[in-house]
Amino acid sequence: MRWPNPLKLSFFAMLACSGVTLVQSLAPIRPTVGPWLDLAANLFQLLALVIFYLTYEQVVSVLRSVDSSTQVEKIEGRSYIVDYLLPPDIAQDVQANMEEVMPIWIAAHGPQRANRIRRAQVFRIVVGHYATPIVAFSERVLAIVRGA
């Protein structure tokens, strides 16, 4: 069973209260200006609620259409850290490799541990990517020093 939207429920509650107030204001009709002012105020309140409701419906329909158009398929093994921290070509390759390797980890360790392994490996790849030039430079320096 799908429960109604709580915001809608609260709106209808407010609408009902407003209706009650309206009836109450209609009851003591006196030949004075006071009750007519009350009646007008309640009518305005009712009108405001109707406008609020229509606006709410419009906003919700717009948000739903935006949400359905921007829904991204969840792909097992994808990591946003890779996209943020690595160059685009390497990030694309790492993502594709992770998607291929992830089923092996899930089969061997289960989904939760596979996720932990994936995070650790992503960290290792990112660190490795930035450490590789440093290591290569150190090796060159060492080769020069030893050669001398």
């Binding site: 390759d93 790492v94 594709a96 490799n97 390797v101 092996i104 960290f123 790849i125 450490a131």
Partner: protein, 93 residues
């Protein structure tokens, strides 16, 4: 060795799968970084290819100098007696 066994133009995931056959605790991050370093050293050739989804993939093939380095390493291991020890490694202690 895993790169050689995985065949030419192998993706890092294929090399990793090959490694798992003999080394179940192999780390994918280490394999990926090592392949990158091998390519930087000229021991593996790195090329780009498209997969089924049209994504650009880095694929690696062992180069001539890579094969030579592997052969030298295997020869060196064989020269000092290889990995087989009579009576097991415990006999060395």
């Amino acid at each position: 060795m895993a790169l050689l066994r995985a065949g030419s133009k192998s993706a890092p995931s294929a090399v990793f799968e090959r490694m798992l056959l003999g080394q179940p605790k192999a780390s994918f991050g280490a394999v990926y970084t090592t392949l990158t370093r091998l390519a930087a050293k000229g021991l593996a050739d790195e090329t780009s290819s498209k997969d089924e989804s049209g994504r650009a993939r880095r694929v690696f093939t062992i180069s001539g100098s890579g094969r030579r380095a592997l052969q030298q390493s295997l020869d060196a291991t064989a020269t000092i007696g290889g990995f087989s020890v009579e009576g097991g490694f415990g006999a060395l202690a």
